[in-house]
C-alpha cells in the first residue's frame, strides 16, 4: 500500500500549487495570512473564563459538575475519603469493586471490605464487567469544563474508567487545573514527546445520550454515575 502513500501525497502537493485565499477573508477585511503558529497563542483568551484563585476555580468545577450530573465531594484527608466511600457503597449495595495500584485508590478500595478486582496485572473482562464500581485516580480536574482528565497510565488502563456502571475518581486538591490549554500542557510536559499513554481522555460527566428525541438519558454505554472525591 506504500505506493498509495506516494500517490496521495503527490496529489496533495499538486493541488497545493495554487494558493488558497487567507482564512476568514470573506468575513473581515483585515484577514491576515497565517504566520508561524501565531494563531494558537491566544486560545486561553477566547475560551470560557475560569477565575484566578483556587476557591474560584473549585467553585467553577463544582458548578460544572453539578450541571453535568456528576457528584463532586470535597473531603479532608484519607479517613474522610474512606468513610465517604463506605457510605456510597452501602447506599448502592456494592458487592464487588475494581481499582488499580495506587496508594490512594487502593487504600480506599480496601477499606470497603469487599472483593477487589485489580486491573494492573491483566484481568478478566467479565470479572471487571460484573463490578459495581471502578475506582481510579486521574491526571487532573479541569475547572473550565468540569472534566476529569484520565490516561491509561493514571487510571488503571482503558477499561476501568468506562466499563463498570459507577466510576469513582479520587483526586487531590493540587490536581485542579484552570483550563484546557493547561491540561494539554500538563500531559505534554509529563509524557512528551516519547512516552504518551496510549489513551488520554477527558471525561465530562457520566455517559449520556440525547439520541431519542433529544432527551437526555444518562448511562448510555459507559458509567451511569460519575463521582469525584477530592482530598
Amino acid at each position: 500500500m506504500n505506493d498509495e502513500r506516494e500517490n496521495i501525497l503527490g496529489r496533495i502537493r499538486e493541488a497545493l500549487r495554487l494558493p488558497a485565499p487567507v482564512p476568514g477573508a470573506h468575513e473581515r477585511q483585515s484577514a491576515h495570512p497565517v504566520s508561524e503558529r501565531e494563531a494558537a497563542v491566544h486560545i486561553p483568551e477566547w475560551l470560557p473564563s475560569v477565575g484566578v484563585t483556587f476557591e474560584e476555580r473549585i467553585a467553577l468545577f463544582q458548578k460544572n459538575a453539578a450541571e453535568l450530573k456528576a457528584q463532586f465531594v470535597l473531603l479532608d484527608g484519607a479517613e474522610q475519603l474512606a468513610s465517604q466511600l463506605r457510605e456510597i457503597a452501602a447506599a448502592e449495595g456494592w458487592k464487588k469493586v475494581a481499582t488499580h495500584a495506587n496508594e490512594l485508590a487502593e487504600c480506599a478500595a480496601n477499606s470497603l471490605g469487599l472483593p477487589v478486582v485489580r486491573t494492573d496485572s491483566g484481568y478478566d473482562v467479565h470479572e471487571l464487567e460484573s463490578c459495581d464500581a471502578g475506582i481510579s485516580t486521574c491526571e487532573a480536574l479541569v475547572a473550565q469544563t468540569g472534566s476529569v482528565l484520565v490516561t491509561s497510565k493514571s487510571s488503571g488502563g482503558r477499561a476501568l474508567s468506562i466499563l463498570p456502571p459507577h466510576h469513582v475518581v479520587i483526586a487531590r486538591r493540587e490536581q485542579l487545573i484552570a483550563d484546557l490549554p493547561a491540561a494539554f500542557a500538563l500531559i505534554k510536559a509529563k509524557y512528551g514527546p516519547e512516552n504518551y499513554p496510549s489513551l488520554i481522555s477527558f471525561i465530562t460527566g457520566p455517559s449520556r445520550t440525547g439520541d431519542i428525541e433529544r432527551i437526555l438519558v444518562l448511562g448510555a454505554h459507559g458509567p451511569k454515575k460519575l463521582t469525584i472525591l477530592c482530598v
Binding site: L16, S152, G156, R158, A159, A183, A185
Partner: protein, 466 residues
Amino acid sequence: MSTTPAAAEFKRDATTLTKDLRHRSLIRTALKKYEIARDSKKALFQDWQSARQTAAEIKWDAINHLDTHLADFARNLEARGTRVHWASNAEQAREIILTIVREKKASAIVKSKVMTGEEIHLNEALEKEGFEVVESDLGEFIVQLRKEPPYHFVFPAMHLTRGQISETFAKELGSAPTDSPEELTMIARRVLRGKYVTADIGISGANFGIAETGMISITENEGNARLTCALPKVHIALMGIEKILPKFEDLALFLPMLGTAGAGQTLTGYNSMYGGPRQPGETDGPEEFHVVLLDNKRTTLMADPEQRDALHCMRCGACLNVCPIYKNVGGHTYGTTYQGPIGSVITPHLRGLQQWKHLSFASSLCGGCTQACPVKIDLHHHLLQSRRNAIAQRPVWWEKIAFRALSYLFNHAGLFSLGMKLGRIGQIFHPLVKATRIDPAHAWTQSRELPKVAPETFREWWQHRK
C-alpha cells in the same frame, strides 16, 4: 436545468416532506432545544468570534501544508507500533479493512460512529462477506435496525419519535413496547454490552488526527467509542486525510468548539486521544491498532483553491441545524453521506459536479450556515461558485437564449413598457390556468404566488404627474 436522476429524486422527496407537517414540527422541536443549549454555551466563551478566526487559521495551516503534516502524522503513529494504511478511494479502503478482518478470522465487529464508513459503504462490504457488524452509537444502532441511512451526521435518529423507536426495538429485538426514552436506551445498552465483550474487532472514526504527536482524537457522549477502543483485540480507525491538526494543544480550542457548535455542550462527554496499541507496561487495550487514511476525492476538492476551505470542516453539524432547507426537506432527501449545506458544497467535488449540482440550488442563500460555521467556511458563496462552475462546464443553450432575450428587453425601454402593459392584461386571465400544466409560470406558481404587475409603473406615474 437538465435533470439528473439524483436531482429528480431530490425534488420528489423534498416535495413530499415539506408537506409533512408532523415531520417538520419534530425537527423544529429538536433543533430548538439544540439552539437554546448552543447559545448558552457560546455565551460562556470570552470571545467566540476570535475563537472562530483562530480555528480557521489553524485549519488553514493544516490543510495548506497537508503533505508535511500527514507525513508527520503517519511517522509518529508508526513509531509507536500503529499500522498506517493509505487508501486513494473507497474500494481500496474497504479492501484494506476486509483484509485485516479476514486475517483475524473475526466473528463479531463492533463499530462506533464512522461517517467515512458510510461514505465507503463499509457495513455492506463486511456483511456481504458474512461478518456481523453492530453499530454501537445509539442513534446509529436505531437506524441500522431500521435499515436506514443516518438522517443527520451528528444526530442520526433525529427524525424518529420514541414510539417509532419502540416499535423498531419490539420488532427487531423482541423487547416490550415502552415510551420512556430511558428504558429504550437501557434496552440498547443491554444488547450492546454483550457485543463489546465478545467482539474481536472495533472500528471507529476519528474527529481529529494530531500530526505532532501521532494520535487520533474521538469525540462522543455515550462511551461507546471508549469501549470499542478498549476491549476488542484489534482497533481499526478510518479517517479522512483532511482531519489533521498540526499540534496537540490545538485540541484545547477545537474540542470545546466542536462540543459547543455541535450539540450545545462546553465539552462533549468523552474526548479521547489514542496514540497507539497497548504500550509496554499498560494493562489493556488492543494488540493491534490500524489507521486507514482515506482520500476518496478529497484531493480533488483541495485542487480548487476557491473552495479548499471546505476541507476545514470538523463535521459539527451546526450548518445543518440552522439551515432552512435542511429543516424542511430533512436529511434523507439529500441522498448524500453528508447532508445540509456542507454536504451540498462537498458532494459535487466528491461525486461529480453535473450529477450533484442541483444541491447548489437547495439553498435560500441566507448565509446562516456561513455564520454558524465554527471554522468560517464560506459555505453559501461556495454554493454560488458551484452554480457558476456547473454552467461554465456545461452551458445550457436555452438558458443562454433566455438571458439574452431578457437583457434585450431590459435595454429597450419601449419594449419593456409594452411588456408591462401586456403583463397587466395577462394577469387578468392568469387565474384560469394558474398552477396547471399550461401555466407558463407553472414551476413557480405550484407553491408560490406570482407577484402582481403594479397598476402603474414608476415611469408612467412620472409622466402623468401634475
